[in-house]
Amino acid sequence: MSSAETMSIFSPALSARFDALVLKYPVKRSALIPMMLYAQDEVGYLSDAVIEEIAQRLDLTMLDVRNVASYYSMLRFKPVGKYNVQVCTNISCMLRGAYDIFEHLEEKLGIGHKGITADGVFSLEEVECIGVCCWAPAIQVNYDFHDDLTNDKVDEVIAAYRAKAGRADAKGESANA
């Protein structure tokens, strides 16, 4: 693991977190799925460099890592928008207007399922049940839930993220961070 320690592509905090994570389990490989997800949170997606370092840390091949990653719907090999808007259209949400919400977002953002806006601020995705069925219809933006939605509420939610992205830009942060 020494090479990973000396030339990690992750932030020092994440690197330290991973060093501790592998010790939590009876078998090191158990850290694989959390590691991939937390790495993706920091880097944006599972790039070759991310996969290589995770493979090294867990004594796996890059193929092993890719093979497992491809099973899980939250893991991705390509970047998404800074704010990934995930619309649940499964039954409980569908009954309460999820497809209207999805269409409204398509129009508003000018993108379809798995699309990314030109400025990289938003991406849109139709997803399966996100576990908030009793507060439907609902979306998840990155990890944040927004429930009991109407088109007007969606507008407010999107406006708030847009303002946040603007503030981040003003501070000189990359929109793809």
Binding site: I91, S92, E128, G131
Partner: protein, 436 residues
């Protein structure tokens, strides 16, 4: 943040600390928390299992297997370490009850996990949450860290010679990982493909060791059972169905939400009184009683139906995850069936042909059908296909996809026929399922 709902008919056992700040460990202790664990440490394994058996608690993950009995299957002696696994993958559409437990009462999960460990002689437990529940994972992790700091977890819990470690694990998006053996694979850092049974997890489970796996709600019920006594808990529910359960009522009702009601509570009352009736004064068309995999029920079938595992089973469906999805008369059942099968098609792990191909064909047929290009023969074909998936797969996902489809075709054949001959859907607007 999910809204808390309330109704006078509720019997609050698992939900009694909801909204009371019990995620804070000191507050939890103030509310009587961790007393159940102390009691179990004093009483020992046999006593715990007897209380659990007396409670009549049956697994809240869907199958309704008696929890005490499950725990008693774990061999006393084992060369390999034993484990407790808490299933918080919660991905069956219509189901969001565990969400509230993690949010409002994470220490009840920790207590239940320790007690299960004491019962089976495990020194380690894993609490696995679906990856989308990141904020709940953070709440759980904080709760575990606080329990370590107080000495409730670790090498010598509560100052005794007993060790118990707990680890919170994140998933990364996969319904199939909720299946118990697939969850073990995932926890071992692999794809969530299930294992062939037998051997059952109680004998060969996580890392090859004997493992008890329970749903998060099952586990959260444990400390309450210990506190109130197994017999008292059993008395709250119906025959052979102890206690209460968190029913999640969603869809076309006035007051959707999670309500804790005694097992056996009448479904009609649940919809019309507890959840305020069908939204906008419309009429009830159908009810999915226990998550998307459970066969649909008609209004006339719920009149006297008590919501427990046996009664719903007798009515030809299943209590499942307790996620009641209410459908009004302005909904297209073909569309609903299509959205349901699309989910299972998306989530099939692809190992068995009947499940992988069957869900795909059903989705294709229903898509075509709903678009108005179906033929009469298609209706029979859909039924034939679904019937032939049943019982022919390695894990129950194949059945979970076939069963609701069969229910829709059998009980709503007329509605399928109304889509024939290029007619536009007479019930609702078209839905194109974009998911790939």
């Amino acid at each position: 943040m999910p809204k808390l709902t309330s109704h006078p008919d509720e019997v609050k056992i698992i939900s009694k600390r909801f909204g009371m700040g019990a995620a804070n460990i000191d507050r939890y202790i103030e509310l009587g928390g961790y007393e159940a664990t102390r009691k179990c440490l004093a009483e020992g394994s046999e006593w715990i299992i007897n209380e659990m058996k007396a409670s009549g608690l049956r697994g809240r993950g869907g199958a309704g297997f008696p929890t005490g009995l499950k725990w008693s299957f774990v061999p006393k002696q084992s060369a390999k370490p034993k484990y407790v696994l808490v299933n918080g993958d919660e991905s069956e559409p219509g189901t969001c009850k565990d969400h509230l437990i993690f949010l409002h009462d994470p220490h009840a999960i920790i207590e239940g996990t320790i007690i299960a460990g004491l019962a089976i002689g495990a020194k380690m437990g894993f609490i696995y949450l679906r990856g989308e529940y990141r904020y709940l994972i953070e709440i759980m992790e904080k709760a575990v860290a606080d329990a370590y700091a107080k000495g409730f977890l670790g090498k010598n819990i509560f100052g005794t010679e007993t060790e118990f470690q707990a680890v919170v694990q994140t998933g990364a998006g996969a319904y199939e990982v909720g299946e118990e053996s697939a969850l073990m694979e995932s926890l071992e850092g692999k794809r969530g493909v299930p294992r062939i049974k037998p051997p059952f997890p109680a004998v060969v489970g996580l890392y090859g060791g004997p493992t008890v796996i329970n749903n998060a709600e099952t586990i959260a019920s444990v400390p309450h059972i210990i506190t109130m006594g197994g017999a008292a808990y059993a008395a709250v529910g119906s025959e052979r169905n102890g206690g209460t359960r968190l029913f999640g009522i969603s869809g076309h009702v006035e007051r959707p939400g999670i309500y804790e009601l005694p097992m056996g509570y009448n479904l009609k009352k649940m919809i019309y009184e507890v959840a305020g009736g069908v939204r906008g004064g419309r009429k009830l068309k159908a009810v999915v009683p226990g998550g998307s995999s459970t066969p649909v029920l008609l209004p006339e079938e719920i009149e006297t139906l008590g919501m427990d595992f046996d009664q719903v089973g007798k009515a030809g469906s299943m209590l499942g995850s307790g996620g009641v999805v209410v459908i009004d008369d302005q909904t297209c059942i073909v569309e609903f069936a299509l959205r349901t099968i699309s989910f299972y098609q998306h989530e099939s792990c692809g190992w068995c042909i009947p499940c992988r191909e069957g869900t795909d064909w059903l989705k294709k047929s229903l898509t075509r059908f709903h678009a108005g290009f179906g033929t009469k023969k298609d209706i029979d074909n859909i039924q034939y296909l679904a019937e032939n998936m049943m019982g022919r797969t390695f894990c129950p996902l194949g059945d979970a996809a076939a069963m609701p489809t069969l229910g829709f075709v059998k009980k709503f054949r007329k509605e399928f026929e109304d889509h024939l001959d290029g007619k536009p859907c007479p019930y609702a607007k078209h839905v194109e399922v974009a998911l790939v």
